[in-house]
Amino acid sequence: MDIGESKEDAVFVLEPKGRLDSANARSFEERVLAALEQGESALLIDFAGLDYISSAGLRVLLMGAKRLQQSGGTIALCALSPSIHEVFEISGFLTIFTVHNDRAAALAAMG
């Protein structure tokens, strides 16, 4: 899985592409943890290029959100496809995460 990475002012953006499942959840987790260990405190995960997420992927998001909450940081998600939005709705993840329509809206809210 290709994972894009960029910094937009104070917000660190990760952009996983394709599928986020058990095949690559560990490598995505490493990228999230590396960002947190670098001291990033505002993390945006841009789902624009993501087609699919499984429970393994959801667990990584939860772990990242928990770590950021404990350190006083923030996490947000943006650009969920309708199918991924449905997964978030069914799994109750919309009650945990702040979700924005697109990256611009997310950055405006987090900035």
Partner: protein, 216 residues
């Protein structure tokens, strides 16, 4: 670290006398099935989405509580949903329960005592010898229920399983349960296998209720 099946056993036993709490058998079976499936998921052997439970790696975990279920999933001819596997695994709940209890006895957490009822019927009790593990599980649960913190995956699992088999009625007072209900409802949705366990339990309860009060 205890498996989820072992943690569930500790929560399903009465602290005072080591007997099983009055939990419906089907609920307990589904919860144990869910416990095994969730341990397999956290061991990266299976993965789930809203429709399917997928085999990720058929390599045995080395845990006899988990590997028989992993073998059945690996041998399946087609991919099925999490709910199918909850109900399939529930058929083996007696083995899972006995295995988990035997392990807890061997670890010195529980003692096993045989009783006779009316001189004929045997019953087993499992009084606690070392209550630290159970206290730790209960503290984890209460820590999540009484805060707004994001729970970690293990805490979500145990809360899903407890709610599915109605243990919270035993763990919490009715007032505490009323206060925690919203949080339990939020947390239990966060795991798709947990949702499958809850649906299986609910369906059986609904069909029993229909049988008791048929609509003509």
């Amino acid at each position: 670290m205890l498996s989820f099946a072992e943690e569930m056993m500790l929560l399903l036993l009465d602290d005072q006398d080591g007997s099983f709490l009055p939990i419906p058998e089907w609920s307990m079976q589904c919860a144990l099935a869910g416990a095994v499936l969730m341990d397999l998921a956290l061991a990266d052997r299976i993965d789930t989405d809203v429709n399917s439970l997928m085999l990720v790696d058929k390599k045995p975990t080395g845990d006899p509580l988990l590997d028989p279920t992993l073998e059945r999933i690996a041998a399946a001819a087609e991919v099925r949903g999490a709910r199918y596997w909850v109900e399939n695994t529930a058929a083996y709940a007696d083995e899972i329960r006995e295995g988990a209890l035997a392990r807890l006895v061997e670890a010195g957490v529980l003692n096993r005592e045989e009783d006779r009822f009316l001189w004929v019927f045997r019953s087993r009790r499992y009084p606690t010898i070392d209550g630290r593990a159970e206290r730790e599980v209960k503290l984890r649960i209460m820590g999540v229920l009484l805060s707004d913190e994001i729970p970690d995956p293990r805490d979500i699992v145990i809360i899903c399983l407890c709610d599915s088999c109605g243990i919270f009625n035993e763990l919490l007072s009715s007032r505490e349960l009323e206060r925690a209900r919203g949080r339990i409802d939020q947390v239990r949705k966060l795991d798709l296998i947990g949702q499958a366990v809850a649906k299986s339990v609910w369906e059986i309860q609904a069909s029993l209720a229909m049988a008791a009060h048929p609509v003509y």
